[in-house]
């Protein structure tokens, strides 16, 4: 067990190093921050001076090495754009993204599972067919279009919900939350739907197909034959057995929700880390880009690690020694 964890940890570190290396080799192609940092009146001498000060005249692996050295000491540098420590900016922005991701994931799970069960039980019902068709639209429409569409309907035409921002937030010192104010909660609705819609349809389709599979199993027939009530059969026996793959997929999707919040955050001017990253790319704010990419890869690596460990706990076959050889 310990050896397994250590091996996985070692692999994770290798993955992180490679991600960082690839990221730094890409930064040259994103562009040059110098013109964004100096005004229109800059001279050639200013350009050369700043380039040297920032170390941009060095090869990318030297820049990468310096970044690593500082990052290990917890220093991610100073944002070129805002002139503030990157770690401070990330901490300030993280609550917005995490709250949005949590609400989206909750919404996706709740609706995904219940609609999945519904469409599986009423396989040929009218409502099921409508839901299934609509879910196809949810899967195929790009996120930004859904966002703009929702803004158009609910903000411009109906004037019900805000089109941008987080509303009023309450500052708890180390965390800012939008959960405690009405405008904060209202502001969450549209972005959360936009971000969670794809995951919701995915979960729904997964639950439905798993459910259909399980409902065909013999123990369900026996349960019915025993005269158990329909609800008990569907929920206590069938649903329970479909949830294992669903939980795995949802766990992995949670990482995707956080990482791909970028587009939703841009459409709704949601002040999270995704919007920060987009701004960083446009400005070529290398310290912010590097820290964000490392953060996201740390997150994915740890989610994968946790999922692996969960398998280990759930599936006894993994625990038996490798020596048996099959």
């Amino acid at each position: 067990m310990l050896a397994f964890i250590l091996r996985r940890l070692f692999q994770s570190i290798i993955v992180l190093l490679i991600v960082g290396f690839v990221a730094f080799s890409m930064f040259t192609f994103v562009g040059d921050p110098i013109d964004n940092m100096l005004g229109q009146e800059r001279t050639q001498a200013d350009i050369a001076r700043l380039r040297e000060q920032l170390g941009l005249d060095q090869p990318f692996f030297v820049q990468y090495w310096n970044f690593l050295g500082n990052a290990i000491q917890g220093n991610f540098g100073i944002s070129y754009r805002q002139g503030r420590p990157v770690s401070e900016i990330l901490l300030e922005r993280a609550p917005a993204t995490l709250e949005l991701a949590a609400v989206s994931a909750f919404f996706a799970m709740l609706l995904g599972i219940s609609l999945g069960v519904f469409t599986a039980i009423r396989r040929n019902g009218m409502a099921s067919n409508v839901i299934m068709t609509l879910s196809l639209i949810g899967v195929s429409l790009p996120t930004f279009l859904i966002g703009i569409l929702l803004i158009y309907v609910f903000s411009v035409e109906l004037n019900w919900l805000p089109s941008f921002g987080r509303g009023a937030v309450v500052d708890l010192g180390w965390w800012t939350t939008g959960f405690l104010t009405t405008s904060g909660l209202q502001a969450l609705i549209l972005p959360a739907i936009t971000l969670g819609l794809y995951q919701m349809t995915l979960i729904m389709r997964l639950v439905r197909s798993e459910m259909l599979e399980v409902l065909r199993q013999e123990y369900i027939r026996f349960a019915r034959a025993r005269g158990l009530r329909e609800r008990a059969v569907n929920f206590r026996h069938a649903l329970k057995n479909t949830l294992v793959p669903v939980i795995t997929v949802t766990g992995l999707q949670l990482g995707a929700i956080i990482a791909f919040a970028i587009i939703t955050e841009t459409v709704f001017q949601w002040p999270g880390v995704g919007l920060l990253f987009i701004n960083a790319i446009q400005f070529v704010d290398i310290p912010v880009m590097a820290a964000y990419l490392m953060l996201i890869s740390v997150m994915f690596v740890s989610i994968n690690l946790i999922v692996d460990l969960l398998y280990f706990a759930i599936d006894p076959r993994l625990r038996v020694g490798k020596g048996r050889g099959h």
């Binding site: 562009g31 005004g39 000060q53 002139g83 503030r84 900016i89 004037n159 941008f164 701004n279 446009q282």
Partner: protein
């Protein structure tokens, strides 16, 4: 039917209520936030705009682009010494913190703006000393007579010396040195509004400063400003349409009609201080990305003239810009000193004459060339380039378009590694010398830093450098006209148009568009007040 009417009435009522409630609070959105509140750390539009509400310069530009006294009431060249400008300071001005404004603060601020980490220092290179003069005046000593010095001071904000010293904000924020200064997120200006709270990239709230010296001089109808950057243009327009903001800058041209046609909203328009043009690499012996071996077709003046003729500026205005541009024949907008109607007249779009010129130049079958174009900097920049590709192909020139984000485009110009490029240029000093210094003078360590054309004319360089010390303004204007004549006849740049600014506002607010895109809220009027 009845239901819809009720819903309609309810929404109208809501809209009216929102309008009334926001009469004194201005909810303001534009695409980008100020990068810092340190007044000398960034020389950038949105940053200056925010600071103009909080801080004040000695002089500023009104809605016509004319100089107006802010912290200075009078400014003139000393009668004894042509190298000295004397500024008379406004009396009875206090900072938000209660400190009195005086000559010390001006000297401190100018010196701060001249320090190495300041982004404003290039505008002040001619100043050798700033000292207190007689009475309530400050004297600016320059290294030679500098007739246009005042024009360089319109974005140069004055800070309080004592406040800066007390709070360790004497130095300008040094981003690359990893510093974070007090002044980047705290302010103490003399301006009409003071900072209440700020979350970078999220929201900045300002409140009227009750002891502002201009309380009775300006409308001052807005009590409170809530500024929010909204990056996505569709969202920005939606926020204006839904009544969540009262004032939006950077409206996309395709949505202007929609906004103007909406109940309770208006779009106000004015020419912007920004010209869009193409630059040509005339200096290279051979171009990198063309199909002509051993020579540079762009070095041939007839080719450049043919290209200039082939560009149909009216078509670009109507189709690409939806009428929101002013076609031009020169790379400066009309309010810049040196502009004349004659220079502004673009050549007739005459395809036959263009082909004729191409033939005379020795390229009857044309040639191919690469055009570098930004796609996130100017209004419809990429679409302008695409239109020009089509127009030039009619004159036999095959253009391969390479468009990319500004962060990749501008290094090409800085390093002069482009043959044919799109650029936009504003003239903050409202004087031609600025354009000559950056775009016409031979590229060197100091001057010509944006001249990627490879053009070098020592005679013209001498004429350009001589401008800075000409005290006789008539003589100077004649010299400027002479330089323009040479630049125009060389056709180094192919001017396209001047951009037009559009501000979207609720009907309750009246103001005029400022050519630098720097709204100053103290000028805003509201109908309810």
């Amino acid at each position: 039917m009845k239901l819809t009417r009720q819903v309609l009435m309810a929404t109208t009522a809501l809209g009216l209520m929102a309008g009334a409630a926001s009469a004194e609070t201005l909810r303001w959105a534009r695409s980008g936030d100020a990068l810092t509140l340190d007044p000398h750390a960034q020389n950038e539009g949105p940053t200056h705009t925010m600071n103009h509400q909080i801080y004040e310069p000695l002089l500023l530009r009104d809605t016509e682009g004319e100089l107006e006294g802010a912290l200075a009431t009078d400014w003139q060249v000393s009668e004894e010494d042509p190298n000295v400008w004397i500024f008379t300071l406004r009396e009875g001005v206090t900072f938000h913190g209660g400190e009195t404004f005086d000559a010390e603060d001006v000297i401190f601020s100018i010196e701060r703006a001249q320090s190495p980490d300041s982004d404003m220092k290039e505008l002040l290179t001619s100043i050798t000393e700033v000292r207190a003069g007689e009475g309530n005046t400050v004297e600016f000593v320059t290294d030679g007579p500098n007739p246009i010095l005042p024009a360089n001071l319109t974005n140069l904000f004055i800070m309080d010396k004592g406040w800066a010293e007390e709070n360790g904000a004497v130095e300008v924020q040094d981003v690359e040195g990893g510093e974070q200064t007090f002044a980047a997120s705290n302010t103490n200006g003399t301006g009409p509004y003071q900072l209440v709270s700020r979350e970078a990239d999220v929201r900045t709230v300002l409140e009227q400063f009750p002891d502002y010296w201009g309380m009775d001089e300006f409308p001052m109808a807005i009590d409170r400003i809530e500024f929010t950057p909204i990056q996505n243009e569709a969202t920005r327009v939606a926020a204006l349409l839904s009544g969540e903001v009262d004032f939006a800058q950077d409206l996309p041209v395709q949505d202007l009609e929609r906004v103007a046609g909406s109940e309770g909203l208006q779009v106000i328009t004015a020419p912007q201080n920004r010209t869009i043009f193409f630059g040509l690499n005339v200096g290279a012996d051979d171009l990198e990305n063309d199909d002509v071996e051993g020579e540079n077709p762009l070095a041939n003046r007839q080719v450049r003239q043919a290209m200039n003729m082939a560009i149909n500026r009216d078509a670009i205005q109507q189709v690409v810009m939806r009428g929101q541009s002013e076609p031009t024949g020169i790379i400066i907008p009309p309010f810049v000193n040196g502009w004349t109607e004659e220079l502004d007249t673009p050549p007739e779009g005459d395809m036959e004459a263009a082909m004729q010129l191409m033939e005379e130049a020795g390229y009857p079958d044309g040639f191919s060339i690469q055009l570098d174009c930004p796609n996130d900097r100017y209004i419809n920049d990429e679409a302008i380039c695409q239109a020009v590709v089509g127009m030039l192909s009619q004159a036999g020139i095959t253009v391969n378009l390479d468009s990319k984000p500004k962060a990749q485009h501008f290094p090409l110009i800085a390093n002069s590694t482009t043959d044919f490029f799109l650029l936009g240029w504003g003239v903050p000093t409202f004087d031609s010398e600025y354009v000559f210094n950056f775009l016409v003078h031979t590229k060197g360590d100091e001057l010509g830093s944006w001249n990627a054309t490879g053009y070098s004319n020592p005679e013209l360089d001498a004429q350009i450098t001589a401008l800075s010390s000409m005290t006789d303004l008539e003589e100077r204007d004649a010299a400027i006209a002479e330089i323009w004549e040479e630049v125009q006849s060389e056709t180094l740049y192919l001017p396209v148009h001047n951009q037009v600014l559009n501000w979207g506002l609720t009907d309750g607010i009246q103001t005029e568009v400022q050519p630098e895109d720097q709204p100053k809220v103290k000028y805003f009027e509201t109908s309810s007040s």
